[in-house]
Homo-oligomer: 293 residues x 2
DNA sequence: TTCGATGTACTCGATTCGAGTATAAATGGA
DNA sequence: TCCATTTATACTCGAATCGAGTACATCGAA
């Protein structure tokens, strides 16, 4: 049998946090993620993707982690490619400290809550959420499986909201026909929004047992800045004393001799990530607290 | 630029547990994993791999989960393909209830501890482990980073053994040149042993927060059988009272009216996995206890 | 100097978890 | 028959963790 495979596509979810907003790097007016074909000149998948990101966004990337490999049929059944050739996309999650981007394809940072407004639970519940759940309950009808899924994914009927289930919520809304137009969240080209949801899910899960947050932090930072970053990513409001307790119990950071300046309120001590502990925590797991309010 | 990509390879780690041994399906006398190229006739990556598994092992597969996508350069730099074309392999983890296999390629089940003898900590520590750590300490010399890695990965100097780090341990041993020959564990063709290590790592991590174990269990089982299965997978010895406490707290199983027979000792009640809870636990996370001894 | 915002230190109770102990019920061999 | 063995099952106890709340300190700015 002949292999008529289309080129393999590398695609990146590039995340940063600025002004307490989690942001994702987009192209073409915010409707696409950086991507490009894997070519035989690339030494590896990672280095190939790095080259594409540099070219399209002019932004250097530090941390880069493989997410998932999508095939067309697994992706969007409505795609024009579905019946033709099988395209394979390998998705990666990259973490950077935000800088201005200038590259081909009009790179721009957008808050990822533009695409998933229902995922931001930092202050109360998002406005759109009641309308979404109402529509979902109608969609579920009296099918017990559907009702159970809606309840667990959206924290209804006494179930707790689980911030990690970004992808599953998006897929449920997709099934229920709520993400076709622009009514709930900003759309993206083909299935890029689903790939973004995959990345957010992974990142929200990962900050709980791995010190990846520090990839997003500047050299030195206050503990509140660190907390606000974790809150931005997880979409949850955290309990300040508990957050600080965990951070120093884990000995993830060490004091610098400096203090913050400029902002109002009492100046805070500046901390830096402990470089010596890096490898060790990467392996054995550093827990970040995610208690509510 | 021309794309001279070799076909995409699908590769499976098929796991089962019988006689308290975790087993993996192999071909060609235990030196290779089931695999085959992704073809344009396949409807999806998963269904393509299912077809290859059926053909090569004659074994039906239920649960199948994507693991990781490897490119040659990411894999084994010594490979003959490294300088030629870029071959991509997509690895999957499949869970089955073991049956006799009969297909092309001489399918056979092997305990995965044949390939990783140092990973079985159910009774004392494995014999080979002292020899391995001795060699690693020599390799580390006085490089503090290397010493730290060895300590954390192999539970030395007061660090605890973390059973999930199968892949990281294998890669450290690879760097130290301990897995070239057959001295430590049985070798496999090309980098199949590393892919197997990836699968074991993922499965050991996953049984802690997801009820995937039940994919490996028969219809009804005693709580001790369930515990022995978890122990086989994790390579740890568990505390019986605590294990049972967690199982019924989680309400993962329900009693059948039957009791076990045949074995010596007091007959045990038979349980079955609660089908109603399936979807819910899949989403929100079911914890299995992994306390030592 | 008072307000507002932030930083920092403590307390308390609920839950979880590792570890140990004790007892019950069956089998099989002496 | 009875006892040793094996497995099942129930209970206890202390340490650690975690969510939640309270109190107080310290700065800048109005």
């Amino acid at each position: 049998m002949l292999n008529e495979l289309a080129p393999i596509e590398l695609i990146a979810i590039l995340a940063a946090v600025t002004d307490n907003q989690p942001r994702v790097m987009t192209l073409r007016g915010g409707e696409a993620l950086p991507s490009g074909p894997f070519e035989s000149s690339h030494r590896s998948l990672q280095s190939g993707l790095r080259a594409w990101i540099e070219a399209q966004t002019g932004h250097p990337v530090g941390y880069l982690e493989q997410l998932y490999t999508f095939a067309d049929k697994d992706r969007d059944p409505r795609s024009e490619y579905a019946a033709a050739s099988q395209r394979i996309s390998i998705g990666y999650l990259g973490l950077v400290r935000e800088q201005d981007a200038a590259g081909a394809g009009h790179p721009a940072w957008h808050s990822w809550y533009q695409y998933f407004p229902w995922e931001d639970h930092r202050n109360r519940s998002p406005e759109q959420l009641p309308r979404i759940t109402k529509r979902l309950i109608v969609w579920a009808g009296d099918d017990p499986m559907r009702i159970q899924r809606v309840d667990y994914l959206f924290g209804l009927n006494g179930k707790a909201w689980n911030e990690e289930l970004v992808l599953q919520r998006y897929e449920l809304m997709y099934e229920a026909g709520l993400v076709d137009g622009a009514e709930f969240g900003r759309p993206m080209a083909s299935d890029n929004r689903r790939i973004l949801a995959t990345g957010i899910s992974r990142l929200r899960a990962k900050i709980k047992y791995s010190p990846v947050v520090f990839e997003l932090m500047p050299e030195s930072f206050t503990l509140l800045q660190l907390q606000r970053t974790v809150e931005a990513l997880s979409g949850l409001h955290l309990h300040k004393p508990n957050f600080r307790r965990q951070i120093d119990q884990q000995e993830l950071v060490e004091e610098t001799s400096e203090v913050s300046s400029g902002a109002s309120g009492r100046p805070a001590r500046l901390f830096r990530y402990r470089p010596a502990i890096l490898e060790a925590r990467m392996l054995s797991g550093a827990r970040l607290p995610l208690s509510r309010s």
